[in-house]
């Protein structure tokens, strides 16, 4: 049994909020640079250059990458041999508040969705998963709402053709169009229940983009993974044919990547959720 104090978790969450909002993820920055070299149109290049430059300025001057510092989504993977001393949920919300205050980030959370009211820093959305072992993994993903507003869920028939699922995902990006800060990262959740597919689509966003099939060992599980990775690559190519481009002003880069997470589901259904991220896909992780 490993004992972790709630105070330690609070401090780590606070740090992760600042890191996620100020330092753009390496995989995203590489994706943007690759896109910059790939683009040929002057305007697309100019916009990508501004986006890359923005990431450097944010890091150097300790400014938020985007003024929409999001609704922080906190993922906890809790080893079953971990014992937490103190109030875990309170520690997380306190950590976010502290981090957002210290980082001069935006207070974008209103306490009542209907009556609205004055914006504050919490409560945030917290997901927990139980794992084996004695580690605690914390990920903070500040999700901007320009892109969160473009989320789509569809409950397909179990007999649906893969091509119809592909079309649904590509169409979700098409309907987001220029509005939600393309080039996008497209998170997709397939399987489970309606709510679980949405969770998976969000979870897909904190995985690194552009994974390859090359290094997979053999086996049935890997067969399934290979199919998912190939689907990611097909979708990425199809989405980049949409010519939405950086800022929606045309170009070869409409998405930086597509990440899919799958889960077993019911014989009667096939839930698919698309959760789009803007180009400023931000997250930070720490394992204790």
């Amino acid at each position: 049994m490993k004992v972790i104090s709630a105070n330690k978790i609070r401090d780590i969450v606070s740090e992760l909020c600042i890191r996620a909002n100020l330092v753009l993820r390496k995989d995203i920055l590489s994706g943007l640079k690759a896109a910059y070299s790939r683009e040929t149109k002057r305007r697309a290049k100019d916009i990508l250059k501004a986006i890359i430059n923005n990431a450097y300025i944010a890091r150097k001057e300790k400014l938020a990458i985007c003024q929409d510092t999001g609704l922080p989504v906190v993922f906890l993977e809790i080893g079953q041999e971990v014992k937490i001393n103190g109030n875990l949920m309170r520690a997380i919300n306190k950590g976010v508040e502290e981090g957002y205050r210290r980082g001069y980030l935006r207070n974008s959370i209103i306490s009542n969705p209907l009556s609205r009211g004055k914006p504050g820093y919490s409560p945030v959305v917290i997901h927990t998963e139980i794992a084996t072992g004695n580690r605690l993994k914390i990920t903070v993903l500040p999700k901007g709402f320009g892109c969160e507003n473009k989320t789509q869920l569809k409950m397909f028939n179990p007999t649906v053709k893969i091509s119809e699922i592909e079309r649904f995902i590509v169409d979700a990006v098409k309907s987001a169009g220029p509005d939600a800060c393309p080039p996008y990262v497209v998170g997709v959740g397939i399987g489970g229940t309606a709510d679980y597919a949405c969770f998976l689509a969000k979870k897909a966003l904190f995985r690194r983009i552009n994974r390859q099939t090359g290094h997979l060992p053999a086996g049935r599980q890997e067969q399934a993974n290979r199919q998912t990775i190939e689907l990611e690559q097909v979708l990425s190519r199809e989405i980049n044919k949409l010519n939405i481009g950086p800022m929606g002003l045309g170009g070869k880069t409409t998405c930086l990547g597509v990440n899919i997470e799958t889960y077993p589901t019911h014989i009667a259904g096939l839930p698919v959720c698309v959760n789009i991220s803007c180009h400023a896909l931000r997250s930070a992780t720490k394992v204790i």
């Binding site: 501004a50 001057e61 400014l63 320009g146 220029p178 800060c181 010519n243």
Partner: protein, 179 residues
């Protein structure tokens, strides 16, 4: 690249064409969802708005907190379409330009044409970069709304692209047509 100073001169807006790149210098006002709702409520009740809208530029922006020693924090544009239902009323009150990101509704395009106004785009998701062009930053109304308050910003060479010009040409329709 065109340089424009606010207040606009007589032909400034007329001469702008969709796709033109512009560097803007002068005073602009931030307003987003809740501020729009309040402004339009005030207008519909014939009450005075806290900022005289005539000739003004509205920037759809909710800035972060201001770090110590800086003029402003991260301050990029938010999605313009959420303001669509309020925009015609503000244009009617004399707003001449808006800055945001993404598409606008047909009603907004028609109102822009009718009022001889302009909709600008600026670098979306680049709030840190855009903070470099802001020289003064001061809240002027609805401060209870926090980041959604109306702020008066003084900008210098703020980078813009004309999204919808006074003839109603929409950059996104043009880009789609050329695809």
């Amino acid at each position: 690249m065109k340089r424009i100073k606010i207040p606009f001169k007589k032909n400034d807006i007329k001469e702008l064409k969709t796709g033109d790149r512009v560097l803007l210098t002068g005073v602009i006002y931030t307003a987003r969802d809740q501020a729009h709702k309040r402004l339009v409520e005030a207008i519909s009740k014939n009450k005075k708005t806290p900022v005289d809208l005539k000739g003004q530029i509205i920037y759809y922006c909710g800035q972060t907190k201001t770090p110590q020693g800086k003029v402003i924090g991260s301050c990029g544009p938010t999605t313009a379409s959420r303001m669509d239902e309020f925009t015609p009323a503000l244009l009617k009150k004399g707003v001449l330009a808006m800055i945001g990101k993404g598409r606008r509704s047909q009603q907004v395009i028609q109102a822009i044409k009718k009022c001889q106004a302009v909709y600008f785009l600026t670098y979306a998701g680049c709030g840190a970069l855009l903070s470099k062009y802001v020289k003064k930053n001061e809240p002027v109304a609805y401060q209870d709304l926090g980041p959604e308050a109306i702020y008066k910003l003084e900008v210098r060479d703020f980078p813009l692209i004309v999204g919808i010009d006074a003839r109603g040409n929409d950059i996104f329709i043009r880009e789609r047509a050329s695809a």
